[in-house]
Assembly symmetry: C2
Homo-oligomer: 219 residues x 2
């Protein structure tokens, strides 16, 4: 390791080597952030969000209490950081595993069912997560959430376009607008589920009806 560091000072900007560009400082920071996120994931999952204190997280990550807030703006921010990657992956996987031959409505239900299944693992956490995702405390900067929404909207719009060119969808509106409409319905039905106002079965039934209205097909 010490050798690597010296080599770096010999050739200050060597293009051949992958990336010794980052000094010890940057590496330490990355590593610390990883420890923080890891500790938070563990604690949030084990004890729940409200029951976990920032002190506990700092202690588990082996840093001072104040240090934590050099890496995250708030406890809620941390929650989003921890789980946004998983959500993104869930969304990607959901779109990847779609049955291309199925009717559009069934395809949509496949996607949204996968996403609900993820949230069903821990409804309480999902509630707080969704809350913070849709109402980020600092306006104009939701931690990496835009990417998630982009993936979802693009995926939905893509399904619509394909179904339409196959003559299976008779909505003429712009695909992105339809995608947003579909997502809006998913979001509100998810809210009902997370708030305990519907069961998983009711969620599916209601969502299917809502989506059917949007894409103008029989439920």
């Amino acid at each position: 390791m010490a050798g690597q560091r010296k080599a770096q000072s010999v050739v200050s900007d060597a293009p051949g080597v992958a990336a010794p560009r980052v000094g010890r400082r940057e590496r330490n920071k990355q590593e610390k952030l990883a420890r923080i996120v890891g500790a938070a994931r563990q604690l949030f999952s084990d004890q729940g969000f409200a029951e976990t204190t920032t002190q506990q997280i700092a202690e588990a990550a082996d840093i001072g209490t104040g240090t934590l807030f050099l890496y995250v703006r708030s406890k809620e921010d941390l929650l989003v950081m921890v789980f946004s990657d998983e959500m993104l992956e869930t969304a990607r996987a959901a779109f990847a595993s779609i049955d291309a031959a199925a009717p559009l409505l069934d395809q949509l239900m496949q996607v949204f069912s996968s996403m609900l299944a993820y949230h069903e693992q821990d409804l309480d956490l999902a509630r707080i997560l969704l809350k913070e995702v849709m109402f980020p405390h600092v306006i104009g900067r939701g931690a990496g959430i835009t990417e998630l929404l982009d993936v979802i909207f693009a995926g939905l719009a893509d399904l619509v376009v394909k179904a339409r060119s196959a003559g299976k969808c008779h909505q003429e509106a712009p695909p992105l607008m339809i995608a947003e409409n579909l997502f809006a319905n998913y979001y509100l039905d998810l809210l009902g589920r997370l708030g305990g106002r519907t069961t998983a079965v009711q969620f599916h039934s209601r969502l299917r009806q809502h989506l059917a209205i949007t894409i103008n097909v029989p439920a």
Copy 2:
């Protein structure tokens, strides 16, 4: 006043008089709650939600700090109590002032425009309000919000039914389901507006497109 109190003890359950049924205790409680809500409305409007402390509210309402929490479960609860009546009234007024002859899409835009106009008065407050309304801290009990949603859903469903019987709407789905779909779209577009991601003009344009998709008419 003292006379009234004595009269009460003479005839313990006099049916003729309007309602001396409530003793001083109940009256005091009502009056105190009114003072609390009034003080909170004033302070929230003047200084914003985050900048207002529960101590300030208690002081302005002339009660002890602890007393406040005999009347509300949390600061957020108080926000909802303060503004849910106004929102309900806004929604009622919006439905009442509809042009019965206009196309369904225009009617819907009238309703939702009125509701946005209310929120435009104070976007920050609206943000926190919507957040708390849709994610009440104590699950299963949103302070008087069900009533608001009932009014909105019923109103929307009613518009749909009327338009349909006039042959102006070709959606066959249950009216309540359509109403929910419409509201979901309003809600998400409102979220974009409150998050500063769209202007008021963009909000209108986008909402109109989204609603048009749901009721299956040209935008």
